[in-house]
Symmetry: C2
Subunit: 808 residues, 2 copies
Amino acid sequence: MTPVTSGLWHKLIAFQVYGANTGVGKTVACTVLGKAFRTHYPDWQINYLKPVSTGPASDADDKYVKRYTGHRAECIFQFSDPVSPHIAAHIEPPSDQQVLGRVSEELFKHAKSIKPKGEYGITMVETAGGVLSPAPSGSLQADLYRPLRLPVILIGDHRLGGIAATISAFESLTVRGYDVEAVMIFESGNLGNTGYLMKFFKTHKLPIFELPALPPAGDVSKIQESMASYYKHVSQQRDISRLAQLLVNRHFIRLKDLERMASKANSVIWHPFTQHKDRTDSSILAFDSAYGDFFQTYSSQLPAGYDFISEESTPTQNNTSLLQPAFDGSASWWTQGLGHGNPELSLAAAYAAGRYGHVMFAGAIHQPALSIANKMLQGLENPRLQKVFFSDNGSTGIEVAIKMALKASSIRYGWEPGSKDIGILGLKGSYHGDTIGAMDCSEPSTYNEKVEWYHGRGYWFDFPQVKMRKGVWVVEPPPGMETEFGQPRSFKNLDEIFDFEARDSLKYESYIEGVLNWLIKSGGRKFGALVIEPVLLGAGGMLFVDPLFQRTLVNVVRKSNLFYSPSKQPFIPLDETGDASSMWTGLPVVFDEVFTGLYRLGRFSSASFLKVHPDISVHAKLLTGGLLPLCTTLASQSIFDAFLSDDKTDALLHGHSYTAHAIGCHVANVSLNKMEKLEMGKSWQNYQKSWQIPVSSSTVTWSMWSKETVTALSHNEQVDAVIALGSVLAISLHDESGSAGYTSDVANHLRDALLYESHGHKWIVHSRVLGNVLYLMASMTTDCETISAVENSLLAKLKDVGNSPKGS
Amino acid sequence: MTPVTSGLWHKLIAFQVYGANTGVGKTVACTVLGKAFRTHYPDWQINYLKPVSTGPASDADDKYVKRYTGHRAECIFQFSDPVSPHIAAHIEPPSDQQVLGRVSEELFKHAKSIKPKGEYGITMVETAGGVLSPAPSGSLQADLYRPLRLPVILIGDHRLGGIAATISAFESLTVRGYDVEAVMIFESGNLGNTGYLMKFFKTHKLPIFELPALPPAGDVSKIQESMASYYKHVSQQRDISRLAQLLVNRHFIRLKDLERMASKANSVIWHPFTQHKDRTDSSILAFDSAYGDFFQTYSSQLPAGYDFISEESTPTQNNTSLLQPAFDGSASWWTQGLGHGNPELSLAAAYAAGRYGHVMFAGAIHQPALSIANKMLQGLENPRLQKVFFSDNGSTGIEVAIKMALKASSIRYGWEPGSKDIGILGLKGSYHGDTIGAMDCSEPSTYNEKVEWYHGRGYWFDFPQVKMRKGVWVVEPPPGMETEFGQPRSFKNLDEIFDFEARDSLKYESYIEGVLNWLIKSGGRKFGALVIEPVLLGAGGMLFVDPLFQRTLVNVVRKSNLFYSPSKQPFIPLDETGDASSMWTGLPVVFDEVFTGLYRLGRFSSASFLKVHPDISVHAKLLTGGLLPLCTTLASQSIFDAFLSDDKTDALLHGHSYTAHAIGCHVANVSLNKMEKLEMGKSWQNYQKSWQIPVSSSTVTWSMWSKETVTALSHNEQVDAVIALGSVLAISLHDESGSAGYTSDVANHLRDALLYESHGHKWIVHSRVLGNVLYLMASMTTDCETISAVENSLLAKLKDVGNSPKGS
């Protein structure tokens, strides 16, 4: 699992010493600094830690530092070969998690050993070799230590070529999200490295400190003496003094910034989707950073409404960590796929920024845009889709889709250009975005009716839902609609629900046909598109729609001749033969895969679950692996052709300034490649095993959340039902009192309980709630161990919440 | 000026050899490669070029390479001190432009000297020191050569620490948008550098080639002999052979990709704002990359409709460059501010990606978001604004602003929640974005009336415009509205127009009051906001609104008591005293500064020209310096307070998944800091001088486009009028025939003419047209020399177009 730890304490000032290259004097610099700290802070604990050292133990850096400073100095992993750790440790090398775990333990020990009264501690963690030298496991050292994200002192290279080496090392640290606090460098004589770097790093507000050259080697017997005198002299130099104080000050500035961040945010930030009347400083989580599946949250902040104090929870103390790793259980609003702080995506973003910046896209093309367009067309395996339009997010992508679909219908059915009375067909509980056009695609509800310009345009069908209850998958009609949809029905497994050939869709067909007849023939309504989220309605409350119903809805709409008046028979080309053709029939079918697509449910396309091909398909969120906004709306040729005309104003007049921005497109290419590799590779097989049905050769459904836990959850007495598909787990809690308010309190309580450290974990779970539903979402790279730990936490907290006095 | 050049030819295969550090064997590698090329391509020209060399000339690398290969080998700048070029060249160092210019010349020479029949050429350009070693000027070498963006061969470091050095060097090249094609590295014995790097670079699909260690130094007299034998042996090794062929193949793959990019785009891309009926392969520009103010466009592509063949234009030949630098004259759809491929922004993007990725923003805060919120609040110097809301682009930012304003009005004036009949007040020709809510803020026009769900909601005022005609600034009423607005009036300079105290606004006041009276009292209309683009209406055709009219409109709306029915006197707190208060009166005033703000017109805020403070302000485009999408909507406390309630559904229910994404926010902070520095520094003073009015101590207006050129343009007989403010220049061409179609042809012809190389420039100008208006937009870093060259090109092309047979 991702090594989970954090590197910030109130009283322990820890930082990491990286070298611009090997042999640049990291240990000497640590010794100088150690002595300088001692001078300024005589009562503090000063520690030196060398996690990985190669070469003879007698020669090791910890002994050296101890000799000249007298500080506590330790080396954790010692390998006798004087080569790179990944070679020295070739037999049973410690894993990254082991190294990081041990470093973390040591730091916690240092923090704990600080006496409460007035005393502080400092720990210097010296790395081995250069910034990107391999760790024992072979990982790049700067990647291994990244979860700690300790402030960095970079030891520059004072030799010929050292300017380049120092700046490149700085850039490699920066790309990984490290904060470099200062550069130390030995005097370089006429090479002028210090002077150049001083000027260069000014733009980055990075101070640089020069160390005098070491005394000449001379008589071996006197080397200790001359070094002792060097250290005494240098550690008292004015600028080294200044550096020691600066590093301490920077620590307290960082603490103060973190401490104030929430209250400052409370005064200037208008948060999305938030009723601010109840917002307080302490209701805002301050993120220092994030790595892998975890946020690093400032931990003095606990949810205001929390009222289950379990025995394990411990109050924040001066010597416990100020950063609390929190599992990103909403996948950062459903976007996250490849882990926070992913260095590969970071470098990809930088490459596209460096090669292009943003280049205007009207009448133009660049490689990243062309590549992602082709990748989307290929990945969706939908022969209808031929053209790719770019925008910035799911909401704008849906606006584009709606403009496309309605124009195509208008032209086919001969409606006035710009007809205002065309609606869409959809499902109840749909959600397509926050801009007015996207909002208008959802039925009126308490959440949009108060928006002045909102005007729901369409009709939204009721539908049967898939749920697991007490270990059994069922398909249930909405309450009171058993006549229309049939009685609730149990299935042996999810695959059976997706086995459309074995199921009967007649009841659904006649219901849908009946409704359409009533709407159009009796109601005189006009419709221009069918717009649905395949399989799972996200914001509506993680509603798992019976896939057979969605499939049937598409098929009925496509076969129907209700959408045009008989007097205006449209021209439909003869080769129209359904799914295989690129020509739409009935209404253009729009799939909003913004949430469900691109591996969120375990597959490139969520339409593939339904085995139907939409005419328009919208993709965002996971498109960039969770890094930045980008959206693609794909359309069939026949949709595209509807906009061809001699009149410029018949074109699709849509296009944001950053349309197809190179950074987004390139990151999307790299992300999709990575996710494709994960699909092809073995990392998901462990999850899949738990859901595999031995007798079936065509298992189609699986989840990263284990069948065992999902089943256990479904048996919990507080749980009404559960669903799990791909990376999504959603738990509907019982509405015992029958009042929505109370219900949503229960989900909120579970959410808040998950925010408390307990049950021996060093981290907490950050989740989001939709009404009475608490959901969790993994990234595509979350490992089994993490998932299993989150599951355990969830089961335990559910028990805690269950045992607590209700309504307290 | 930005060194403008390009590095791609059909028949010359040029690449650049960078070292992971100094002393890694770049010259030896070039010699090996040179000999390998000779073996495989015996008839080709093989060239070696060392732009900058330090150390004794007799020892220089060009002589060395020539000795062992016999190829043409040359060194351009030779400095005798064996130190870094920036020190060696301390007296009168050549500028970056000089170095790049000379390299470019040499490459062009090499390309030209290739015989037409069957022959090709190869040039290896060897750099000095490491990737980021300083050039003679002190710039980082990889930045200096970036405009050429030659494919790179990176020579890895085979020594201890070399793994880190090689990967960091690779990352520094990647951050700058270079394509590294291969790594060469000397055998490193038991250090295992090659093996590690081979595995590591596999993820980047980067092949790595090992060179055997050099023969031992031994007898000095025999060194040449043993080296000769080394070269002979190594250059014929199988994998070096493979490398030589691979580099040649990669060149042809790059050519093929570029050549096919437009046609592939034509088949899969749906371009924004484009009528595709006329789109052909050749109407799509293929961008290889971009740097500073220039695109690198694939130059075989010329606009299909071009029909002015001037004598200077030369057809693309095999030995002329395939990449044509094109001045980005639309600032990439008005976004560009700090140059394409800006390494500082690139690193900033990578840092935020590395530190956070994207972290969910609901109920959360991170430093980049907090910083940019505060920076916006401070920069706007508008005491009303207190809260910052994030979204992804100008269109969504306007939707947010509208939701804010209408809710505030509804509550103040006691309208039903969600009233559908509320309109906005605006100006004719406004444009606020492409999503339905933003579209609805503009009056019906041919450009939106055909969109099915568009429904213009509001009233849009006519207004007088500012223009320069024949060297004189005038304020003109719309045709036929002299009674309402007065006769056209001349002003001595722009500053006079902005001198509101000296001007009389009575006519404007009574006109606006009259219209409001008519709309509301007679028409029964209801309005919820005033929404305007301060100073310049962009998409409407670069219309320069008389600022006095906009100012008056705001003041009249704020003073008016027409917006609520007298029977429903709203509660307005007593301390309401106009501009200084944070409380809105009349209607909430929304300023759309998406285009005009953040230095586009030379100032942080375009509202500051009008000397009024809006209640809501929207900012995007330049916010990230031109890198990626981000938008902020700022609001006053009284707007914010309108959403406070005990009911969650009274909140502003808006929020995109990537709301306040860390990359955008951090890049925005870095960009705004840089632009602020430009404002404070001296770089804009040269532009300002040309517009300064000696007698006035309070010059408020200036442009990057020189007064001389703007005046000259305004006298041109094809020009109707001109405007210039900040980085914007817009030229309205005469509509001689009176038909809009013909008119827009003239602007299109000028645009196409600018796409042709001529008048001794090595680059062209890419511009965009709005109807009969051709505009040009600089970035905030465009230097005087570039501006002046673009101006000259514009004047010359205008003459060309004028002299050509009309309508041809």
